[in-house]
């Protein structure tokens, strides 16, 4: 077995193991009550990961059966990742009722714009590769990643624009998802373009990168999950600032 293949297979095992550990930690900490979609996602990823690993090594499983399982994992995983982004966004908005309406409207507009963009990109992309089914899968992966990364960028930009503070768990989830999404976008774009018909050096490299991102993502989530959200401290504005604000108040009161 070539070194790169051995490496990505090791990372695959490691990633599934880490997601399993993540699920256990999340359940133990009652994370499913605060972020139910995220908790379902990591549980599902673990189950699917174990199933795909088994199918990959079991001699009785045929190639097309593995492919069907892979497609199911891809579609359900992608849908769940979108649901997680929405879950994080709702968490942020719940803490700032003043932004609830405009924030939700903006989120919908950005989603529609991103969907429009990927439809245009899919139309413009020249068909690559000889297998139409694989072309469709690669295109699906790329478009899903574009929308996901776009929505996460919107999430970070929106909270930055309004100086909204993130609970550290929400930030950790978004960060992990963002890193996974950007890496996955790069590798899926390369695959969609080159369309390999059989495993080769390039597929091994993209697999190593993808599985590496999968492991890093799990480690980030685990780190944020294990870190306790620190209680905030009440600030004490400096005396001179309060004086300035008081002068302003007196000016308004005596106007």
């Amino acid at each position: 077995m070539p070194f790169l293949e051995l490496l990505w297979r090791t990372l695959w095992f490691l990633g599934v193991g880490l997601h399993g550990l993540l699920t256990l930690v999340a359940i133990k900490r009652g994370f499913q009550r605060v972020y139910p979609v995220f908790a379902c996602y990591i549980s599902w990823v673990t189950i699917v990961g174990v199933a795909l690993l088994y199918m990959d090594y079991a001699p009785s499983v045929k190639g097309n059966e593995y492919f069907v399982a892979y497609i199911v994992a891809l579609v359900t995983g992608s849908a769940a990742r979108f649901a997680i982004v929405y879950e994080i966004f709702k968490h942020i908005l719940n803490r700032y009722p003043a932004l609830s309406r405009s924030g939700t409207l903006l989120f919908r507009l950005v989603t529609v714009a991103l969907l429009g963009l990927v439809i245009v990109l899919a139309k413009l992309s020249p068909p690559a590769g000889s297998d139409p089914l694989m072309s469709t899968v690669s295109l699906l992966e790329t478009t899903v990643d574009i929308v996901l990364v776009g929505l996460l960028l919107f999430l970070f930009a929106f909270s930055g624009l309004f100086s909204l503070s993130w609970r550290s768990h929400a930030f950790g989830i978004a960060l992990g998802l963002g890193i996974f999404g950007t890496v996955s976008l790069s590798t899926s774009a390369i695959r969609a373009q080159l369309q390999p018909t059989a495993p080769n050096q390039m597929t091994n490299i993209t697999n190593v990168i993808n599985e590496g991102a999968y492991v890093i993502c799990a480690l980030i989530w685990l780190g944020y999950l294990l870190a306790t959200e620190r209680p905030r401290q009440t600030p004490t504005p400096p005396k001179h600032d309060l004086g300035t604000w008081n002068q302003e108040l007196q000016r308004f009161l005596h106007r």
Binding site: A98, L175, L242, W245
Partner: protein, 172 residues
């Protein structure tokens, strides 16, 4: 191939951005007090700058080209005021964000109100700045409303309320 290259480059940029955001988030925990960065905004001067009656008075008193020049300067100054007010709102958001978890209910309530107003002010500011630029290009275009000024005044009162309730020895 071009699409793939563009997507790889874009995702690399986004990845770097994400890492920077994460680093900022981590480092901001030990950052200095936001209250120290608050800038003074003269609300009266700002109201005067976007007062339509004031603009009408100047239009009647000055030659057309002179009025356009002065009005552009006035609106440019108004944009600066709105920017400062929005920056202050962002800083006050940070103060209110921490104060909303106060064990004292009155402080927490005042912080919630401040938070609400600071967000609304930033919303209005984002809406107002482009309108001020349009008014700069087309001097006859209607001036934006006073909502930013009103909201800023409300916010000012709330931060004082919040400040009074802070346990600073000998304040006010």
């Amino acid at each position: 191939m071009t699409t793939a290259i563009v997507l790889v480059v874009l995702s690399a940029i986004v990845l770097i951005l994400l890492i920077r955001v994460a680093a900022d988030q981590y480092l901001s925990k030990a950052s200095d007090d936001p209250a120290e960065k608050i800038r003074f905004v003269d609300i009266e001067a700002f109201r005067n700058l976007i007062d339509p009656a004031e603009a009408d008075y100047l239009r009647n008193q000055l030659p057309a080209h002179e009025f356009r020049k002065i009005q552009r300067e006035r609106l440019r100054a108004a944009v600066e005021y709105v920017r400062y007010a929005a920056q202050n709102a962002a800083l006050l958001l940070k103060i209110a964000e921490t104060a909303r978890y106060s064990s004292e209910p009155a402080t927490a309530q005042a912080a919630e109100k401040l938070l609400d107003n600071a967000i609304r002010l930033r919303l209005y500011a984002f809406e107002m700045i482009p309108r001020l630029y349009v008014a700069m290009l087309v001097p006859r275009h209607g001036l934006p409303t006073m909502r930013v000024a009103d909201r800023y005044e409300q916010m000012t009162r709330q931060i004082i309320l919040l400040g009074v309730k802070f346990p600073v020895s000998g304040n006010l």
